[in-house]
Amino acid sequence: MCGIVGLHLRDPELYPQLGRLLETMLCQVAERGPDSAGVAVYGDRRRCPEGHAAVSVLLPMAAGAPAPGAVSAAVLDAARAELSAAVRAALPGEPEPVVTAAGATTVIAAPVAVDTLVDAVRRSAPAAMIVGSGLDLTVYKDVGNPRDLAVTYDLANAQGWQGLAHTRMATESAVVPAGCHPFSVGPDQCLVHNGSFANHATIRRELEAEGARFDSENDSEVGARFVAARLAEGVDLDKALRLLCERFDGFYTLLVTSDDGFAIVRDAIACKPAIIAETGAWVAMASEFRALADLPGIDTARIYEPEPERVYAWHR
């Protein structure tokens, strides 16, 4: 099944409320995906201060943990402290990195370029899985009930200009933090997927031949890598998703975000649900209307369902 929610704020006055609105939306799709929940927030300055790059990682002992609390907090805290020290050593002359926890995820932020920080984290913890990186993006993943995870992530107090969340009912790979959406494989990019790709193994091999390296066995990661490869070639989000429609078979409703964009596409059969609502203050997307029901101004919003194989994209 799976549930998707996303919110792209147009009105800066709402930025302080992003987390609270997103939490309400997420809880309404909890039943659609009760095994795990992942969240991406653009502009959460608690975890990615202004002028910093942030890298979200799953440390090796957390990435494959089958249940919340399977790894003791003490073990995880010790590993985080170790990572923090190693990253600081890898970035001489820089202040101590800002290290925060969000469920199984660890977010490291430092006032350096994104690539520099990603490289430092890779060298410091070669076995860690990087689940997000960028100047604005922070990603939180864990297994468990989405309502509990919203509290674990302290989502209600997150601020920012854009966010998305995914509740997962696993079909193609294991229920572990590493299998959680969103998949973020390019700077400030995220993809969440409801459905299942049919030809992902073929496309995975093609992307691997082009040099892509995969972190998981998940079919949705193939979609994310495909979009990232197209964006890296210089095409825009709209075109990248149209190319995805041409290449991928299977069922999908996708929400894809970038450092300035928010885009939605569904497959030709469009049996995976999606509903969009728009006002002057925000654009929101969800698997079901009930996730949108409490948004401010929903009564006068333009509400519609995206058509099959048509890309809907908004930019800041």
């Binding site: 209307f289 996730a291 029901a293 058509e307």
Partner: protein, 264 residues
């Protein structure tokens, strides 16, 4: 929740989080056939299960549902001639399997409104998501706004009248009943259709396999006028039956053809 009626009186019709609004007593209450007034359920304060339990063993004839907030299965499985007014947007399978009730949604609905309806009337004042009226055997489904994909999929006798457009792949494998569309129809209309009749006032994006346009004869104009009237649309002027086109089955997929034997 606090009952809307005088809290000092114990009303037998107050059930499972519902409250009887004394001011809106119905005709049947005067008959004494039921305890009845309009029983109101506020879904912000009680559950869909409590509502549906009451509707399945009704103590009144008229119900109102407040703050539905897109909840699923509202008024599903009603098997009595009740009136149910839903004030807001409903989620999946609203009024599913309806048998005899008149359900009005004063808002939009999610997937599968009135799916497998047997009889009665379901009216949606807003839009409907996918698979509206799917597999319906009877009754009338009116969608005043537009319906999304697969409207009337596998319909088996239901009548559906849509004030706006319908999405792609509608009336797929439709077996019986009538589908009236006052706006446009999306691609793949009536794919693999059996004997349902489709009337479209606007453009049909593309016809599915074995679906063809057919002559709109006087008997069709007459049934179309009847359906529009039942839906509350005056069948004159821009909505006159002659403004519609009729689509149905070419009946080429009905029988086994020897030249297809290699396909099995």
């Amino acid at each position: 929740m606090a009952p809307l009626s005088d809290p000092g009186t114990v009303d037998p019709a107050t059930v499972g989080g519902a409250a009887v609004e004394a001011a809106t007593l119905t005709e049947s209450a005067a008959d004494g056939a039921r305890t009845a007034g309009t029983v109101t359920f506020d879904l912000a304060a009680t559950t869909v299960r409590a509502l549906n339990s009451e509707l399945h063993a009704p103590s009144a004839t008229s119900y109102e549902v407040l703050r539905p907030q897109g909840a699923h299965a509202i008024a599903a499985g009603v098997h009595a001639p009740l009136t149910v007014d839903i004030r807001g947007h409903a989620g999946y399978y609203c009024a599913g399997m309806n048998d005899g009730a008149t359900v009005t949604v004063h808002g939009s609905v999610g997937t599968g409104v009135a799916e497998n309806m047997m009889s009665g009337v379901v009216r949606v004042r807003g839009d409907a998501s996918q698979s509206a009226g799917a597999t319906g055997h009877g009754g009338l489904l009116v969608i005043e706004g537009s319906a999304s994909m697969r409207c009337g999929i596998s319909m088996k006798g239901i009548d559906i009248v849509v004030g706006g457009d319908i999405g792609p792949m509608s009336a797929f494998m439709a077996q019986a009943g009538r589908l009236v569309v006052c706006g446009d129809a999306g691609d793949g209309l009536g794919d693999s259709i059996y004997e349902a009749r489709i009337y479209v006032r606007g453009a049909a994006g593309g016809l599915g396999a074995d679906c063809v346009e057919k002559e709109l004869r006087p008997e069709h104009a007459a049934e179309l006028a009847e359906l529009l009237t039942a839906a509350g649309i005056e069948p004159t002027g821009a909505y006159a039956p002659t403004r519609f086109r009729r689509y149905g089955s070419a009946r080429r997929l009905y029988h086994f053809a020897t030249h297809n034997s290699a396909a099995y």
